[in-house]
Symmetry: C2
């Protein structure tokens, strides 16, 4: 007997469950549950879309208050997750991301209060014009509808995402990480209570009661009920969602960010920018990963840089290795690596053409910077580099919703569709057309 491809079996096999005491539901039950959740969210989204600013803000204030009032219960739920994570042997960095403490909860509550102060993006009118036939046409900013967010361990994303979606008038379906199961459930209850107290439907913010992969699959295939899915986490998660979704995905992919030190760069400025971009917080997507140095600058610049960042491992091209003793030879894979660590790939380039070629080939459309004294070089770099943020004489670390003045963000999109760069409240909306006539017909 010859066995056929086993793909369909693999796809429907239960892959994870959260509470070991609960029996695994069958596929049809799980899909029906997710669909019911999505239907309830769709229904709730109609109320959210027309909710006045004051009502949405009242819900947000209650969330912030609720977080502070429920501190002991939150820490208790979080402790359960932490014990399970330790028992499972999770890496200390992961456990740290999972941890809630009083300071973190209070900071999260303050973050929600900051969102209260932001301008409501819904309803603003753009492009008002009267057509020759007298039809008055405007574009009105409206919520996207129902947003699904699939994310990993950090429980504060639960609150950040819920608050941004409420303020922008969207319903949201949250699928958090398995590790944060109890923390997220406790946070979700605070949010639902706050919505209800403010007169909004509890279903406007829902969490999947499971991280079973079949449920995630069902969630990201609810075309017609879910308007967009935003995956937040590692490359594997984003790839999984992108490949299996049947609803639009806004990707927040990796950042392979470059700084190009041009031939005329101010040496001290270049040193500070590179050092800041690489070391100020190496584990984030807007940190520097590959340095490109014009060959004219290399001899002066690279030894000083190596001395200024002794904690950073350098992986260089031949010229770099000749100039810096401690540099080790880079392999082809280094040019595409997102280290998220104290490692820097370094390449000496002939000129800006070669730098632009390198970035076009290896960049991830996230953040790219040039250091130069020449405005014409800066203009060429910003024009020709295709990335969500292109900087002249500043650190890549500024690609962030707060830093760029959005007040808050849902993440940094490297998709060009809809949002490119930090997604704030406006990017959680779309523009619909509205036209007012007096009986106009088409002839």
């Amino acid at each position: 007997m010859v066995a056929g491809p086993a793909a369909s079996t693999a796809a429907t096999k239960p892959m994870s469950t959260d509470d070991p005491h609960v029996d695994l539901p069958d596929d049809a039950t799980l899909e029906a549950e997710v669909r019911a959740l999505a239907l309830a969210a769709r229904q709730a989204s109609r109320a959210l879309a027309i909710a006045p600013t004051a009502v949405k803000n009242a819900a947000l204030e209650r969330i912030a208050d609720g977080l502070e009032a429920s501190l002991p219960a939150l820490l208790e739920a979080n402790a359960k997750d932490l014990r399970a994570a330790e028992a499972a042997g999770l890496a200390p960095a992961m456990i740290d991301r999972l941890r809630l403490d009083e300071a973190r909860v209070r900071a999260t509550a303050e973050g929600v209060r900051a969102i209260v102060k932001l301008r409501d993006p819904v309803g603003a009118v753009a492009n008002l014009r009267t057509l020759p036939n007298g039809l008055k046409v405007e574009r009105v900013r409206v919520p996207l509808g129902v947003i699904a967010i699939v994310y990993e361990s950090r429980p504060n994303v639960t609150i950040d995402a819920a608050a941004l979606c409420i303020k922008s008038g969207n319903a949201v379906l949250l699928r958090g990480g398995k590790e944060a199961f109890f923390s997220n459930a406790a946070l979700a209850t605070i949010v639902a209570d706050a919505l209800e107290a403010a007169g909004l439907p509890r279903a406007a913010v829902s969490t999947l009661g499971t991280t079973d992969r079949r449920a995630t699959l069902a969630l990201i295939r609810q075309a017609g009920l879910v308007d967009v899915v935003i995956p937040r986490g590692g490359e594997g998660l984003i790839r999984f969602v992108s490949e299996h979704a049947r609803v639009p995905v806004i990707q927040h992919y990796k950042g392979v960010c470059h700084v190009y030190v041009a031939e005329d760069a101010e040496l001290k400025m270049a040193l500070e920018i590179v050092k800041n971009a690489k070391t100020q917080r190496p584990g984030v997507c807007n940190a520097l990963e590959t340095l490109l140095v014009d060959h004219v600058m290399a001899e002066d610049f690279l030894p000083r840089l190596a001395a200024a960042m002794p904690e950073v491992e350098l992986r260089g091209c031949d010229v770099t290795c000749a100039l810096v003793d401690r540099a080790i030879p880079a392999t082809e894979a280094d040019w595409d690596a997102e280290y998220l660590d104290l490692i820097l790939a370094v390449r000496v380039v002939r000129d800006m053409d070669e730098a632009l070629e390198h970035i076009a080939r290896h960049g991830s459309h996230h953040t790219e910077a040039i250091v130069t004294r020449d405005p014409a070089k800066g203009a060429r770099f910003t024009r020709e580099v295709d990335a969500s943020l292109v900087l002249v004489n500043a650190s890549t670390r500024f690609n962030d919703g707060f830093q760029l003045g959005l007040g808050a963000e849902m993440g940094i999109s490297t998709s060009k569709l809809h949002a490119y760069g930090p997604m704030g409240l406006e990017e959680l909306c779309t523009l619909k057309w509205v036209a007012h006539g007096e009986g106009q017909i088409r002839t």
Copy 2:
């Protein structure tokens, strides 16, 4: 011997070929060819993105001139397609869509010249601001990059799409319909010659040399090379692309459009709007499909409407059938039907709540209209209806890029992500962030 699931075999089976004299390439060859085409388009997109307006306009002028100069060759190529279509027994409506004649070619050339006159969307700056740290932040409109368009029989889409993409600085990969194979090849040559003459890369506009479904699949899976795919055609095509794409899709789905005649509507205006929306061009997506009439108006309105549109078949609810002799009972399926024909579904509703419920349930987010004398009713309708265009006292037929003042359009998006409604030149672009500093670092 028990056979396993045969999915992988089915997916790789050749499904169509265009030229019967050419041997079918194997999968790997076909995929490599599509990838090479996409790579060339990606490379060309960098030149297009920074091409000055005058250069892009020169290419467009040459396309328009080339269409007129090549008229005999075009008609000859088209005649080959028409003969094949007739031999294959295509429906007369399909054959008409496929046909080129001198008037159509001249109209297409004029359409290209109209795009020359439109403002270049690339480079416009929005949101310029200086942050507290002195960083100057702006958002610059840039092309999406490489756009893939998968469409059906009408060969004029080849030119419209190419012209819009060139003007907006995008490279484009065109996969036209099998029926228009020779016409599209002739049109593509005119475009490539025009690009070259204007000093732009020929690869900026490429056509797949085949409509083999495997090639289409390869095209819509070129993540990293293709930025977006826009399917234009019937529901089956759009569903196929949406389900198999690995790059973002902007859907131009069906239009199940409603007119709601409110209790206070001006009767004559309502009659004219409904008649225009249903009959002025019934085969298009912004034509009316379901009429909702407030019960207060029904007795007065429906018999007059039936008399005013004797050519339209009416499928009504019970009340409608009681008021209009010739109405036949509607089934549940009628409320979701896009007839694209002289058929109208009619339902009498209790009030605006019921109309809004009906539209939320059966509408396709395309175009919805209300007829009312009361501005408050109009405001509620425009606020609560989720559609790309919501009209008060005007025909649904206005949902069109030309009618709404965009000058030209790529289609009407019913996706809420990125573009909702007619896609003009600006919607073929995205906004990137640009920041100018004097050495700012993050602390």
